[in-house]
Symmetry: C2
Subunit: 671 residues, 2 copies
């Protein structure tokens, strides 16, 4: 029977070997955290390597994602579907062992990490998801949801602001089943952290209402066992176990930043092997150590025991079980299609002149009663962004019932927590702030896109039309910023009908996040044919057609669509042929076949005018060098919204002036 | 003699009146903080309303910027150049009283605030600037730099992650002359904060090494006086004075979020006036209250006393005084032109094949000894981003000498602090992280642009060329994100010469921030004529010309320029006329006159291929509907850099294939 240290050393050896093989990677952290990993994963962690999708598995997040080899070594050793070849191929094209962990549920990788701090922040969302599901689905007799969320994190994670935002909320929410092991090695890339990280972490986390354990010796298995037991015993407060560790443990580069971000080098690896008493050749793990790590039998037994309970639960509570299964699968309710259609029909029939933020709230009000998986919230702008509906119940921190989260003024934390809710499964998170503050959350949106999560950002006050609050609150470049994120959908609907369709598309989009950009001010209701209503789902469509080949195409989104329509009417009265294209979601439009794109924007019509109170440059994509953009080339100004819109040229008269220039071929030939 | 409460009530009255007049604004906070403002500004704050640019004035930041009317009322009452008409015009087009404060040094507005948390974060930079200037310029006999930095902030500021990042550093740096008054009113927009802000702020700030005072009654002048004195007495630790206040003080909406973000309404204003015992008509301040507030005489005397010392200082230390004055004026050294030219010449002569991040370090190494105003740093990636030079001295927290800041893993905090250093005056901050992590700092870059600050972000690892670290570390959309910010310059140089020119332009750009996007991998050195070297400053120029009218133009930046040049060579050998345009800074190119733009990109050459390992869409601006972009339409992949570049088509062969399509008119007609 190998010792626990020998088991931990297997991680160390694999990490060193893979990093040497790749000639790239971060050896210091796996060497330092191997004993922590052994203590958690071999003795406490609940999982079944043969079924990484078991709903009641513990969740693990490697917040300091550069330690990726630690995770790959663990998954390999414990019997996940990660053969040695994948470790040998660490950081190579086509390997499943990327430089930083990338969400792969078939492999046991719960989350993509790398940007520090976001792992712990999303883990807060996962832990909350567990508690909320437990509150809804567990019964007096049957506990079907009952797992822990574990996080490894480093100094860098704690420096990042998002850790503050999310951990403060974790304390407030009483997420006792969230426990983080802090790899306190005192070293970051720039060296000893004494000069830039002097805060008292214990005090700080106590301030958040966490249980802080330690510091314990992060290389002492017994001390780690005791700390883990203490953390598990407190189910009321999230736990932070401070583990004093040595980065690059066992190597000549121990306790030095030189072990952090580059391969150790052959000699150093040899010396480390010797110091650890590890004498196997590279990528070789003795059978007894494999056996000691193998978690498949125990894991299968654990899952089987759960299944047994779940089967009885399903028999006793068929409706609950059906809903739980559906939610965990990420499937919408059976009657979804009908429901979504009737939400759109309702908007069609009501013909209301609304701000799209209000239209969004109304759509939500209609859909929410049927979608228990929706979990809403706002970064302290609930009334403004319209995310709270009659179905919304504020989270009760005592028992975690409720489906609405008051995130406070924490856009980044909110967004990372949304990711965690989506990652866990069972939820479709949506939450809102002002569009201009999406800046603060940007990297969480990026990670959502990279991880292919379904989550919906409700971003209101979507242009200079915001008015008096001025340029800090008036988005200019934010729509473009989000549209440039791969695999991310930005909808900017123009009225209540497009808003309802946008919500439908967002909720149906199982593998990508969506942002809804919504107006503060009222928009005009557009009359459409049944076919046009269908066409909205194509992202861009002809909203107002002219007779024959158009002389000019006006492309607009959101609150500027009515401007385009009015201008087209005026042009029509002049005998001009002007088409209006509404383009609520360019990413969806871009994904249509060439025939549709040609139908909407015929290649030979080059007199094109894009109208959006947002960065002009972005629209060159559709208007080219011959067209014009009525957009924003500068920051906005504080003044009443209609005044600002007018001063920046968002008037029918100005649209007409530009349209005439284009029709008369006087449009400037841009570089 | 009016009472102190009466003086405070003048703020309250003006705030209510202006907000009613505008029918827009946030009355709750000015009503709640008026007594705090009276205590600080009338009794402690060092300033001269007649010269808001006095270098040794105290700095004030209203971090909860929605309380803007508090500041405008203060400035008006104390004798700044802000007549009553401006208050009456609150939030109107053309007024200097924007919805949120906008930096206006002639008026006494030090910083644009509104996005919560960034005010306190930038104030950390201001306070650091003061200490660093004091360390350099004060002598045993003469103290010419000695002022405090004051901040008002609210619950929302403390929720935001950036407050964590910056305040932790303020404690580490021992910024004893930074003092923040926390308007602890227990209310944010969503209501009573008990459900989303339960952290123990005292403990948290003690964890950061701050002096925490209070809670004190924020409406008790004597208690505030005592707290301010206590804060001033501790010059070793930054101070947080927790002021328990009542939002909407005096109004029927006191202690309620209903007073936060909307005008009180006429009846409520009347009731408030009555409750406060304020009987003046709107916008009317009794003379005795004006007199009690007027700070001009005292301020002038204070500045005169300082001037007296400064004159003697200048006589004793002419060189120091000259440098101090130059720096505070934001002027570069007299020999700057020569210096900049020789930095570029050095790169020209060395002809080195370098990663542009190394070229950047070399340029810095050359310039830094002559620019004491440079203050460098990195978010824990010093070695990778090349911001530390032989001239760099780490900040010594004991005496604040040094010119290099280890910011730790805090991109947003770093960037907001850079803004503060620039706002204070006397410094040109530059600091680095990986380009993909600029996401975390985005709003600070935006505020820098909005405030027209000179600051330089050194953003390395600027494409998928990063390689093994994978998609979380490989920027795709970040260049576009920054290019869409108005008044922001993004340089992506292709070799050592363009890098040196980019640094020159960045340092000369006094009214806008710059980001340098730099490669991790080596780039090719480009041979250029003297004229071409000059042309770099135009942002886009012909790097490789062909004989006669080009058949195709290849536009590229950074590490992809060599690809364009190689492809052009190959095309030339085929007898094709291919021009290569290097476009290191599109914003600068866009600002050139039409003749230059036509010279570089003739309107009638439509076969254009843009090459950049970054979001393709952005480049449509230059290639239009007829051109092609070789860019990134998805996230990257973890694998060695050259492999990734090849797999995504960044090869000469692929460029040639696309070029042939364009030349043969086979380019797709994009929608």
């Amino acid at each position: 029977m190998p010792t626990r240290r020998q088991c931990a050393n297997a991680i160390r050896a694999l990490a060193m070997d893979a990093i040497e093989q790749a000639q790239s990677g971060h050896p210091g952290a796996p060497l330092g955290m191997a004993d922590m990993a052994e203590a958690l994963w071999r003795h406490v962690f609940k999982h079944n390597p043969s079924n990484p999708r078991w709903p009641d598995r513990d969740r693990f997040v490697l917040s300091n994602g550069h330690a990726s080899m630690l995770l790959y070594a663990l998954l390999h050793l414990m019997g996940y579907d990660l053969p040695l070849e994948e470790l040998i191929n660490f950081r190579q094209w086509g390997a499943r062992t990327a430089g930083h962990p990338e969400r792969d549920l078939d492999l046991g990788i719960e989350m993509t990490t790398g940007p520090l701090g976001e792992g712990i922040a999303s883990a807060v969302g996962m832990a909350l998801a567990e508690r909320m599901l437990a509150a809804r689905y567990n019964t007096a007799e049957y506990t079907v949801v009952n797992h822990n969320t574990w996080v490894f994190l480093g100094d860098g994670c704690l420096m990042e602001g998002v850790s503050h935002e999310a951990c403060s909320l974790a304390g407030t929410w009483g997420l006792g089943k969230l426990n983080a092991l802090y790899d306190a090695n005192g070293i970051s890339i720039d060296g000893k952290i004494d000069a830039w990280f002097t805060e008292d972490v214990t005090l700080r986390f106590q301030a958040y209402g966490w249980q802080v354990i330690g510091p314990v010796d992060g290389h002492d298995a017994a001390a780690l066992d005791a700390a883990l037991a203490e953390a598990l015993a407190d189910t009321r407060r999230p736990g932070l176990i401070i583990c004093r560790t040595h980065i690059g443990f066992g190597s000549p580069k121990v306790d030095s930043e030189t072990s952090h971000g580059a391969p150790l080098g052959g000699d150093c690896v040899s010396a480390t092997r010797a110091a650890l008493g590890w004498h196997e050749p590279p990528f070789t793990i003795p059978e007894d150590i494999y056996a000691a790590w193998d978690a498949r039998a125990k894991g299968q037994a654990a899952e089987d025991a759960w299944k047994d309970i779940y089967d009885r639960y399903r028999a006793a509570h068929p409706r609950l079980a059906l809903e739980f299964t559906r939610r965990m699968r990420g499937e919408l309710p059976e009657n979804w299609d009908e429901l979504a259609k009737s939400a759109i029909d309702q908007a069609l029939e009501a013909k209301e002149v609304l701000a799209t933020r209000v239209a969004s709230r109304k759509t939500l009000e209609y859909l929410a009663p049927h979608l228990p998986e929706l979990v809403g919230g706002s970064a302290d702008l609930t009334g403004s962004v319209g995310t709270f509906t009659p179905t919304s119940q504020p989270l009760d921190c005592a028992n975690h019932t409720g489906n609405y989260l008051f995130y406070g003024v924490r856009e980044f934390g909110m967004s990372a927590i949304m990711n965690g809710l989506a990652l866990h499964g069972g939820f479709i998170p949506y939450a809102g702030t002002f569009l201009s503050f999406v800046d603060q959350a940007k990297n969480a949106l990026r990670l959502a896109a990279l991880m292919r999560l379904r989550a919906v950002w409700v971003l209101t006050h979507d242009s200079i039309g915001v008015g008096e609050d001025g340029p800090t609150h008036q988005p200019v470049e934010q729509l473009g910023t989000m549209r440039l994120i791969p695999n991310f959908y930005v909808w900017r609907p123009c009225d209540s009908v497009e808003t309802a369709v946008a919500w439908r598309c967002a909720l149906e989009c199982t593998d990508a996040p969506t942002a809804l950009a919504l107006s503060r001010q009222k928009t005009t209701f557009c009359t459409r044919s049944r076919q046009q209503v269908e066409d909205i789902t194509r992202g861009g469509y002809v909203l107002r057609e002219c007779q024959g080949q158009p002389e000019i195409i006006l492309i607009a989104t959101g609150s500027e669509v009515s401007l385009a329509v009015e201008a087209a009417e005026a042009l029509s009265q002049e005998g001009r042929r002007a088409r209006v294209v509404s383009m609520p979601c360019s990413a969806v439009f871009d994904a249509q076949d060439a025939a549709w794109q040609e139908h909407v924007l015929p290649a030979n019509v080059r007199a094109r005018l894009a109208i959006e109170a947002s960065s002009a440059d972005w629209w060159r994509k559709y208007v080219g060098l011959d067209g014009l953009v009525l957009g924003m080339e500068r920051f906005g100004v504080s003044a009443p919204g209609p005044v600002v819109m007018e001063k920046f040229g968002f008037t029918v008269a100005h649209v007409l002036e530009l349209a005439h220039r284009l029709i008369n071929n006087l449009g400037p030939q841009r570089p």
